[in-house]
């Protein structure tokens, strides 16, 4: 409850009481319901030589003139007072608010404790201890009173925050005339002017009440349109000048309205006349005149500056972006405070969203309170709602001053308007909530919102629990002959749990592998590469029973499955080599000394490897040499102690790179589990998967990595911790993120890999293989430069499609000489025939659908295509300058940059077609024409590239393709005037043929 003025006066000494009277007068004049500390400050400032002024003058730095500072302070107080809502004026003096009364009581206590007067008050207190009015005994002196008032949170907020801001702008010597720019600028200006006109009724702080307004907008636009003579304009300017000279109060503001006519003016001359006229006005006004105007758009402002480059200097224009639109305005109350509040700094006067709305919004939510406090809070709220008038709340004075003030105001005025009741209630509820918040914060610290935050912060910087990041961990168990053999070669150097882990798994070869007859056991030396401080005496090469290095045995190196993922639980193709479709690009010119090195025991696996990937012979030799030289310390002069190894695999043939890196794990560590592959591509594989990429169906790590929120560098670090001995293949290294970049660079230099938290992981036994499509830093992917029918790029785009065979009748003379051929996938073949069947159109429609499915429908296609300034977030932009520098540096530090050669898909395609042709003649007959759609051919090539077991494709041709053709042939009675077409069918492969990424069945129409 507010205290009656007379009671409060009793507590004050004469001078202080006079101040209170002044304050009450201020409150009364403004029709405020209560007298607060703000009113007191206002009253104190009004006196020309009050102690507050003196104190301020002493305390303030001399950074800016004191006069201006006071001006700022006055304005602040005025603004703050303006925000207090007015109530119907009554004849009584506005009672003293709780917070001001509290300030008075605080000053009493202070005074009582003050050494000068302590004894005096003690005596008084003793003598009339029974006196009820003992509080009134201490008459507060003015200085104590001022100190307490300034302590009041309502006041401190102004003195601290706003004055600084206001002072800053007022002191500003130039650019003090606001030019409002924005869609809502017109409304903002109108609101401001209305506010000024209404002045004096509590809408406008008294400091701005004195500001006279004169509008010249009509004259300006008329003059520009030549509807007004120069003489008339001069008269108007003279009038303005006179007014500003004679005006009482703060000064004059000249409303220039919309400056659009300035922009649109046919000739610049009249506008220049205007500008110079206004400039003269400003300079003669001695700082007592402001201009104000607006423009609806930034483009107009730009044009204005283009036409009149000096206008902003001449007219001291302060460009003021207006970004707030007026909510459905309902009377002055909507904008009353914020408008004026922002007028002061000329810092954006905006209509404020209706206070009703904001207050009404206050639900009785109490999310951050603990249960106990919440209960009490709700109790009090319910009490409050029951008795809306009289409840006395011991408000903590930590609340922000505005709602406080209004709350206090509202206490008095709750009988005034029914509409206001809800508002008042809401404020009370809010105050209650605040109170309980404070109590809760003090007593039950665990449940405050702040604590929640600190908790959150803690969580923020702790490591997230490793949640099952499915990094692809290629395992070679299925059919891995090596895996089985290795068990006989137990080496002490391997972590036993790893061995247990691998031995516990069935190592049975896939039956298919056994059928293929390529199941010669090969024992390989387990540890052919000696690592620092990790000698491995048990696995000397002599122990290995090496079969004679016959070429045919090359198929026996179990390289395992690189592309199966455990998650998918797909049956792993059992693959035993790659020599069936040995490429024509053999290397006859292998230097003889290289051949001789095979004699050394350790060379055997290398030999197998180079035979399997004969077209990558040089690359493999380089790798071998690098690893051996490293062991011998030959090329490690820069960093001889380093136990880790760094290779970069550059250039095309992604698949060979993967397979060779995987074989390294087996050759070096003897255990295929010691291989980890990670694709750093920033390309979104989700999309790739949606389109059914054949490479995606092999399980991409990227997808899992990116959808996880864990940082890639930490995933990598975790894997390195788990697997201290391993080969780590990092694909698309050029797209590594910054953290991976810097950690890798540091690792290659120092042998320590840092995770995102700065913790070091030892990488002494790790072979890093960094794979990239680039040949040299800054160059594009090589395979895009190779001119061939089937480029690697094209093959990488292969999709895992279902296939079908169509039969079409043709004229005999159109049948080509070769019986198996590839047709372009764009449906062109349809036009060749005079008599296309209905299936054709279906096919071509479907094909179109497929090609369209690459486009992300979520993106505005036209926009993106038109726009040149768009940075795609895929690999291309990943090669930013910094990345390139980094890559260059990394490649300098690696042990060896191994360059791979392109895989010859064209030759492979020829060979496949020839094999099919031969097979068809054998199994089906001579007069067969098979056209393979190019899209399907790409798919077959990709499958052949990926497959691990050499005969897998041949098996597929024998067991899937030929029977299907036979079936189709039977259906059409074997007439020769038919052509068979192998085309893609709608949908992705559901059942896969064993060992190869091709459909297990082909649909026959």
């Amino acid at each position: 409850m507010p205290t009656p003025v007379s009671v409060a006066r009793q507590c004050l000494a004469e001078e202080a009481a006079a101040t209170l009277d002044d304050a009450v007068a201020v409150a009364k004049r403004r029709s405020h319901a209560q007298t607060t500390s703000l009113h007191a400050i206002s009253a104190l400032l009004a006196l020309p030589s009050s102690s507050l002024r003196e104190a301020c003058a002493r305390a303030r730095s001399s950074a800016c003139p004191t006069r201006l500072q006071f001006r700022a302070l006055e304005l602040c107080v005025g603004v703050a007072l303006d925000k207090v809502s007015a109530c119907k004026s009554s004849d009584e003096d506005p009672p003293v608010s709780n917070s001001l009364m509290a300030a008075i009581k605080r000053s009493q206590a202070n005074q009582r404790r003050h050494p000068d007067t302590f004894h005096l008050y003690q005596q008084q207190l003793n003598s009339n201890s029974s006196n009820q009015t003992s509080v009134a005994v201490v008459k507060v002196e003015l200085r104590h009173f001022i100190v307490s008032i300034l302590d009041d949170p309502i006041s401190t907020e102004i003195v601290d925050e706003s004055s600084q801001r206001v002072g800053e702008i007022l002191v500003k010597g130039n650019k003090r005339n606001p030019l409002m720019i924005g869609v809502c600028a017109k409304d903002a200006l109108r609101n401001f002017i209305e506010g000024l006109k209404k002045g004096g009724t509590g809408y406008v702080p008294k400091e701005i009440d004195g500001l006279n307004l004169i509008s010249v907008d009509l004259e300006l636009s008329k003059f520009i349109n030549k509807d007004l003579s120069e003489e008339m304009l001069e008269l108007k300017f003279k009038e303005v000048a006179d007014m500003s000279e004679n005006c009482q109060g703060t000064g004059m503001i000249v409303n220039c309205g919309d400056l659009k006519p300035f922009v649109d003016a046919e000739s610049v001359n009249p506008v220049n006349v205007l500008i110079s006229g206004l400039k003269r006005l400003l300079s003669s006004s001695n700082g007592k005149l402001w201009l104000i105007g607006f423009l609806a758009g930034d483009d107009d402002y730009k044009k204005l500056l283009e036409r009149f480059p000096r206008i902003d200097i001449d007219l001291d224009l302060h460009m003021l972006p207006i970004t707030s639109s007026k909510p459905s305005a309902s009377g002055g109350k909507v904008f009353k405070s914020s408008l004026m509040g922002s007028f002061v700094p000329f810092g954006g006067f905006f209509p404020m969203p209706s206070e009703q709305e904001t207050r009404g919004s206050h639900a009785t939510q109490s999310s951050s309170l603990c249960h106990l406090c919440n209960e009490k809070y709700e109790q009090e709220v319910s009490v409050l709602k029951g008795t809306p008038v009289d409840a006395d709340y011991h408000l903590t004075n930590r609340s922000s001053w505005l709602p406080m003030a209004e709350f206090e105001t509202s206490k008095r005025s709750d009988t005034v308007e029914a509409q206001d009741d809800k508002t008042i209630l809401d404020y009370r509820v809010m105050a209650l909530r605040r109170k309980w918040n404070d109590i809760c914060q003090q007593l039950h610290r665990t449940c405050t919102s702040q604590d929640t935050f600190s908790e959150a912060k803690l969580r923020t910087f702790s490591i997230p629990p490793s949640h099952n990041v499915p990094i692809r961990n290629d395992s070679f168990q299925a059919g891995s002959v090596l895996g089985r053999t290795r068990l006989t070669n137990l080496s002490p150097g391997f972590p036993s749990e790893l061995l247990n882990h691998s031995s516990s798994k069935p190592k049975l070869s896939n039956p298919h592998a056994l059928e293929s007859g390529a199941n010669v056991l090969v024992e390989l030396p387990v540890q052919s590469l000696e690592m620092d401080d990790h000698p491995n005496p048990s696995c000397s090469p002599q122990q290995s029973a090496i079969p004679s290095p016959d070429v045919s045995l090359s198929t026996d190196l179990g390289l395992g499955t690189l592309y199966t993922s455990k998650r998918e639980g797909r049956s792993k193709p059992n693959l035993q080599g790659h020599s069936f479709y040995k490429l024509p690009m053999t290397h006859e010119n292998i230097p003889s000394q290289e051949k001789q090195t095979y004699a050394k025991g350790l060379e055997y696996p290398w030999k197998i490897l180079s035979e399997m990937f004969c077209w990558q012979f040089e690359a493999i030799q380089t790798i071998r040499r690098t690893l051996f030289c490293c062991r011998d310390g030959d090329s490690r002069h820069q960093c001889p102690k380093k136990g880790n190894h760094w290779l970069s695999f550059l250039g095309p043939d992604k698949v060979a790179k993967r397979k060779i890196a995987a074989s390294l794990a087996e050759i070096v560590f003897g255990v295929s589990e010691h291989f980890l592959s990670l694709d750093l591509s920033s390309q979104d594989v989700t999309n790739l998967c949606n389109t059914g990429s054949i490479f995606c169906s092999h399980g991409s790590i990227y997808h899992d990595m990116k959808s996880e929120r864990k940082m890639i560098v930490d995933c990598l670090a975790d894997e390195l911790r788990k697997r201290p001995f391993s080969v780590i293949l990092l694909e698309n290294i050029e797209q590594a993120d910054f953290l991976v970049q810097s950690s890798l660079l540091q690792a290659v230099k120092t042998g320590k890999f840092k995770d995102s938290h700065g913790r070091d992981i030892s990488i002494n036994k790790v072979i890093f293989v960094m794979s990239s499509g680039v040949l040299k830093v800054g160059e594009n992917l090589v395979f895009s430069e190779v001119v061939s029918e089937f480029s690697e790029e094209k093959i990488l785009g292969a999709r895992n499609l279902q296939m079908q065979i169509l039969v079409e009748s043709v004229h005999e003379n159109t049948i080509s000489a070769t019986s198996v051929l590839v047709t372009p996938c764009n449906g062109m073949y349809k036009r060749k025939y005079t008599n296309p069947e209905s299936t054709n159109s279906v096919t071509s429609k479907r094909l179109r659908n497929f090609s369209r499915s690459n486009i992300d429908l979520n993106l505005p296609v036209e926009d993106m295509e038109e726009d040149i300034d768009i940075c795609r977030s895929d690999g291309e932009s990943g090669n930013s300058e910094n990345s390139e520098l980094w890559l260059e540096e990394l490649f300098i530090h690696v042990d060896e940059n191994v360059v791979f050669r392109p895989f010859d898909f064209d030759s492979l395609a020829k060979k496949i077609l020839k094999d099919i042709d031969v097979g068809l003649r054998r199994t089906v007959g001579t007069k067969i024409v098979l056209e393979i759609d190019q899209e399907v051919m790409v798919q077959i090539l990709a499958a052949a590239w990926l497959m691990e077991r050499e005969t897998a494709l041949a098996d597929w041709i024998e067991q899937v393709l030929f029977p299907s053709i036979k079936k189709a042939q039977q259906r059409y009675n074997g007439t020769s005037n038919f052509v068979f077409k192998l085309v893609a069918y709608e949908g992705l492969v559901e059942e896969q043929a064993p060992g190869v990424c091709l459909p297990a069945t082909i649909i026959v129409k």
């Binding site: 970004t323 810092g347 905006f350 904001t358 930590r398 922000s400 919102s449 935050f453 959808s707 810097s742």
Partner: protein, 266 residues
């Protein structure tokens, strides 16, 4: 006020380096939203983090309903912080409402900003004649009433929509920070945001900008990104992010961090 402002808004400066990067969170989050982005920058930047005054992590008493009626007051806070820290030049990354705060700040003090990187920014949420902001006034009023009626229910419904992508951790995280906000403040800020119209002032920005726009953002249609690009006054690029949602820093931090680094001034 300088010092207490730094305290009140939980200003932190982390990392080391010559360059200064400001990470400003958006509506419904607090600075913790950047936690997974931060490590990508602390090695070569001094990163300034702070909470908007409306964030749940700031004492609600600091939220002055009379002052924060427009975004200008938030801009004051930002500029005061940068001044108090003695920042001369910085790169500014702003998400959602902070993107707009950054735009205003760059208009006022262009010399302070080397570049603005705007994530999920919209100059105007309401549809207009020739402008598609994504919302109709009526829809927004419905949202407001839902917010008033049951804040918790609203948060639980809104968070998954805003996150967009199916990343439960991100939804949890966003729900937490959103729920930490006092409901009346949330509503008040939403109104201020929806009342804002930046279309007339974008051209006043002279600082180069990068706009990061996800493929599907429930609050910002992708056309808005191109609107911004065409109207911002400085050299502006758009970086489409091929993921969904309004909060890529929560749902796909690795991807966002990489794009952010690409967007950094060279």
């Amino acid at each position: 006020m300088g010092h207490s402002l730094l305290e009140a808004l939980n200003v932190r400066v982390v990392g080391s380096g010559e360059k200064i990067l400001v990470l400003a969170h958006g509506f419904g989050t607090d600075q913790s939203a950047w936690q997974r982005i931060l490590p990508f920058f602390v090695r070569d930047h001094r990163v300034v983090l702070y909470d908007l005054v409306c964030a749940g992590s700031v004492n609600p008493d600091y939220f002055d309903f009379g002052r924060y009626t427009t975004l200008d007051a938030y801009v004051d806070d930002l500029l005061n912080i940068l001044d108090a820290l003695g920042v001369q030049r910085c790169t500014y990354v702003g998400h959602s409402v902070s993107a707009m705060i950054g735009i205003l700040a760059a208009i006022r003090r262009p010399e302070l900003f080397i570049k603005l990187i705007l994530i999920g920014a919209s100059p105007r949420f309401l549809n207009d004649k020739d402008y598609h902001g994504g919302f109709e006034q009526g829809e927004i009023e419905k949202v407001f009433s839902a917010m008033e009626a049951n804040y918790e229910a609203w948060v639980n419904g809104f968070a998954p929509l805003a996150v967009g992508a199916d990343v439960p951790v991100a939804v949890r995280e966003f729900s937490r920070t959103l729920f930490n906000m006092r409901p009346d403040i949330t509503l008040f800020v939403s109104r201020v945001v929806f009342n804002s119209d930046f279309r007339g002032v974008l051209g006043l920005v002279k600082v180069p900008c990068s706009i990061i726009q996800t493929a599907k953002d429930m609050s910002v249609p992708s056309t808005v990104a191109y609107y911004m690009k065409n109207h911002l006054g400085g050299r502006t690029t758009v970086h489409p992010l091929n993921i969904e949602g309004h909060l890529p820093h929560l749902s796909a931090p690795n991807l966002l961090a990489q794009v952010l680094r690409q967007a950094l001034p060279k």
